[in-house]
């Protein structure tokens, strides 16, 4: 399955949207082996595209990703390892009010601090831009 800009892709209760050639949004939940396998495949292709197009920095907005199981954390570990070895930067936009975002992404960043940045944002109030 290939990602195309602005086209929403659903894998069970996980939604992926390539906002631009340098930004991906993940939403919903990621908690089944099938969804993890699918996502791993999609991210492998995305990684290959990032390397081929010599993109230096890629952003992943996980704010709408509200629940993952522990096996899914592995998907992010693997992507960070690939980014480090290919030499591009991953920026994760996280939601301050979501405990797993705040705690797990700080540890994920520590795996490759030169290649991973975390931008923590507060949930937007109704009627305000995020």
């Amino acid at each position: 399955m290939d990602l195309q800009v602005a086209k929403l892709v659903s894998v069970e209760s996980l939604q992926l949207k390539l906002v631009s050639s340098t930004e991906l949004e993940l939403a919903g939940t990621l908690a089944t082996a099938t969804a993890q396998r699918e996502l791993s495949g999609i991210l492998s292709k995305l990684h290959a595209r990032i390397v081929e197009q010599k993109i230096q920095s890629f952003t992943v907005d996980v704010r709408p990703l509200n629940f993952v199981n522990s096996s899914a954390i592995r998907v992010f570990v693997d992507w960070i390892a690939r980014a480090e070895s290919a030499g591009y930067r991953l920026t994760f936009i996280t939601e301050r009010g979501v405990t797993w975002h705040r705690l797990s992404f700080s540890v994920l960043r520590s795996l490759a601090p030169q290649n991973v940045e975390i931008i923590e944002k507060n949930a937007a109030l109704p009627g305000q831009p995020s």
């Binding site: 908690a31 629940f67 199981n69 522990s70 954390i73 405990t99 797990s104 540890v107 795996l111």
Partner: protein
């Protein structure tokens, strides 16, 4: 919706069956049991119930005609308790759980243990099992873990202080 005060302290129990939506049901059980708690507690309880239920289905009895085990959730005296009980398929797995729980209980930092495991996975992507569930419950969920194994029965208990609305 707020849980009626009279039902607090009651332990809600669910038998988990292989197949279907057993893990989602365990998460829902936890969500129902902690409606009186704040957002952080609710997130922590859902995550712990999910991880423990997944472990139970992975490592518990494999007979599809019987329940794999039970999960129970309660809130009492400002403490959330998530408890799983199951017959283990392999005593080796039960010993591994005991060792992991003991390592977490004696470590000054659950974050360090979690990071250590992520570093192992980072350095060796070929590892099949993530084995992050219990570490995540302790680190992200701030739960204290304990377990007991009297063959063939394994019980894991996760407890944390909770703040009510």
């Amino acid at each position: 919706m707020t849980e009626p005060k009279s039902s607090r302290g009651v332990e809600r129990t669910l038998k988990l069956l292989h197949g279907g939506k057993a893990v989602e049901d365990a998460k829902r059980l936890a969500e129902l049991a902690v409606t009186c708690c704040d957002a952080q507690c609710r997130q922590a309880a859902s995550m712990a119930a999910w991880e423990l239920a997944e472990n139970l289905l992975k490592y518990g009895a494999t007979d599809p005609t019987k329940s794999a085990g039970t999960i129970a959730v309660s809130v009492e005296n400002n403490t959330i308790r998530v408890r799983t009980t199951n017959t283990v398929h392999s005593p080796k797995d039960a010993r591994h759980v005991q060792e992991t729980v003991s390592r977490i209980a004696t470590s000054p930092s659950a974050r360090d243990l979690y990071r250590e495991r992520l570093l192992e996975l980072f350095g060796d992507p070929s590892q099949q099992r993530a084995q992050l569930g219990l570490l995540r419950i302790a680190f992200e969920g701030s739960f204290t873990l304990s377990c007991s194994f009297e063959a063939p029965l394994l019980e894991i208990v996760a407890e944390r202080a909770c703040s009510e609305h």
